[in-house]
């Protein structure tokens, strides 16, 4: 309850000066929190909170593809599944995959694919499962962000991380990272996925009406947002190893790769003696 009253007061206070529903600046992201390695049984995983969006992503693979006829002889296949939990929206929705789920799954696949070296895994598949636990506008962007972190966490070779963010027009102003309300009531919405280091856009959709200039500005704004998201993604990946990082003495390790073979043989011999 307190939330609603808060909203009202902020609106009243700033009634002369234009403000967004949640009091953000036009170029401000919602609070962003990403965590990696949250599902122990998955090869890689991530959990993202982008505003009130809550999404968990699991990555499995590269592994043998079933059914086999869908695999490609000369490259791997990326298979993404976007699914909204029945309780993720109000009113409750059917758990069966909808047309919208299917489309967003495809869109996420296409957005992430350019960042991967799929040609290294012929006849295999990389599965990405994004489960929306709570939805609050911009779930496709949040899913892409979490999926990129989960893929990196799975140790799958990538050219770059994929960052995603939407921009749009709400009450005549260009705004970044639209929430559910702005998404529905606003004039326009432009989700963008972006490879920050390669400087390449991999997803560009648009809904609603804007002039050409506005659209261009919107895309630029979204890309700026993506760059902010990228920093959060990087931090999430490093945080997993941050716990014990401080106590480093810098020795050992570097040349151990070569000794693997030797060590292995010794193991076998030693085991036999026991």
């Amino acid at each position: 309850m307190s939330k609603t009253t808060k909203k009202k007061t902020t609106k009243r206070k700033t009634s002369k000066k234009w403000a967004r529903v949640d009091g953000r600046k036009p170029d401000e992201l919602r609070p962003l929190h990403i965590e990696s390695g949250v599902i122990p049984n998955a090869d890689g995983s991530a959990y993202i909170e982008m505003g009130r969006n809550k999404i968990i992503v699991g990555v499995y693979g590269p592994r043998e593809m079933h059914p086999k006829r869908l695999s490609k002889p000369n490259s791997g296949v990326l298979r993404c599944r976007y699914h909204m939990a029945p309780f993720s929206v109000d009113p409750r929705r059917s758990p069966a995959p909808s047309r919208r789920d299917q489309e967003i799954s495809m869109v996420i696949t296409d957005a992430i694919e350019p960042a991967l070296f799929l040609e290294r895994y012929p006849r295999s598949v990389i599965d990405v499962y994004a489960e929306i636990i709570e939805a609050d506008g911009g779930t496709r962007c949040a899913s892409i962000n979490a999926a990129a972190v989960a893929l990196a966490d799975a140790g799958i070779p990538m050219k770059d991380l994929v960052s995603s963010c939407a921009a749009g027009k709400y009450e005549g102003k260009l705004v970044l990272d639209l929430g559910d309300h702005e998404d529905k009531k606003g004039e326009s919405d432009v989700p963008v996925a972006y490879l920050p280091k390669i400087d390449q856009v991999t997803l560009l959709q648009m809904e609603g009406i804007m002039t050409q200039e506005e659209t261009e500005k919107c895309i630029e704004l979204a890309i700026e947002g993506c760059k902010q998201v990228y920093e959060a993604q990087k931090e999430a990946l490093k945080k997993k190893y941050g716990m014990v990082e401080g106590a480093e003495e810098k020795e050992e390790e570097p040349d151990e790769e070569e000794t693997v073979e030797e060590g292995k043989k010794e193991t076998v011999e030693e085991a036999e003696e026991e």
């Binding site: 693979g61 012929p122 140790g155 000794t259 010794e266 193991t267």
Partner: protein
């Protein structure tokens, strides 16, 4: 290092990097887990960067298993096809084990393959070849290879196997000494453990988990030794 070279390295050795990070500007050989784009070298995995004189590489912290010829793996028989077993080795493709690689003598075509290995059996095998579709070909002819009869399997991230073995086997030898268990390490991230009693085996499991979570830190062998001693004293 000359001034110019220093400018082109973008990180300190052993810094954590993420996919897409620029590691080196200019001409240098690309080591493991790196790739070249527009003449510069980038990382393609989460890992610790390592610069040596003529190459830059990344020691991966996470990673799936990539089969290489000569690797010792722990696999599970998942299917029997004509003249061959299909073995799951935790890689992107299943491995093949043919009869000729399984028994070291002649056989008839009506040979009952299930007598050697059946679906569900666990094998310790060696990768002898990768065929032209890069399917791993296994062999169980040799010492310490073949069907596994007792023990249990522990799974860890394959990229952390080198840490478990340590420099010239220092880590694993220490563990073997302290726990008196039989341990076979598969390069594919599966570890076969067989001890005299449950307590010893649990000790190995604890230690392996500790190694897995702290694989990226230095001075690990000593710390593990300390850790083992602590647990042992607690038991007394």
């Amino acid at each position: 290092m000359t001034k110019e070279e220093k400018l082109s390295t973008k990180f300190e050795t052993r810094d954590i990097v993420v996919p897409g990070d620029l590691l080196y500007e200019g001409r240098i050989r690309t080591g493991e887990n790196t790739f070249r784009r527009e003449g510069n070298v980038y990382s393609n995995k989460v890992g610790l960067v390592s610069y040596s004189q003529d190459r830059v590489s990344v020691i991966a912290l996470e990673g799936t298993y990539t089969p290489l010829v000569g690797d010792l793996v722990v696999g599970m028989v998942i299917d029997i096809a004509l003249g061959q077993w299909v073995v799951d080795i935790n890689a992107s493709t299943d491995a093949i084990l043919t009869i000729t690689d399984a028994i070291n003598k002649s056989f008839r075509t009506n040979f009952d393959m299930t007598k050697v290995l059946d679906v569900g059996d666990v094998v310790v095998a060696k990768i002898v070849d990768l065929d032209r579709r890069r399917t791993p070909i296994l062999s169980i002819v040799g010492r310490e290879l073949g069907k596994v009869h007792e023990g249990f399997i522990l799974k860890i991230t394959p990229s952390k196997i080198p840490r478990l073995i340590g420099k010239k086997g220092s880590m694993i030898n220490m563990i073997l000494r302290e726990t008196r268990c039989q341990i076979t390490i598969g390069q594919n991230g599966r570890i076969l453990i067989n001890g005299r009693n449950r307590e010893d085996e649990e000790l190995v499991v604890k230690v392996v988990h500790k190694i897995e979570t702290e694989a990226h830190t230095s001075g690990l062998t000593n710390r593990i030794q300390e850790y083992l001693r602590e647990i042992k004293e607690d038991r007394k």
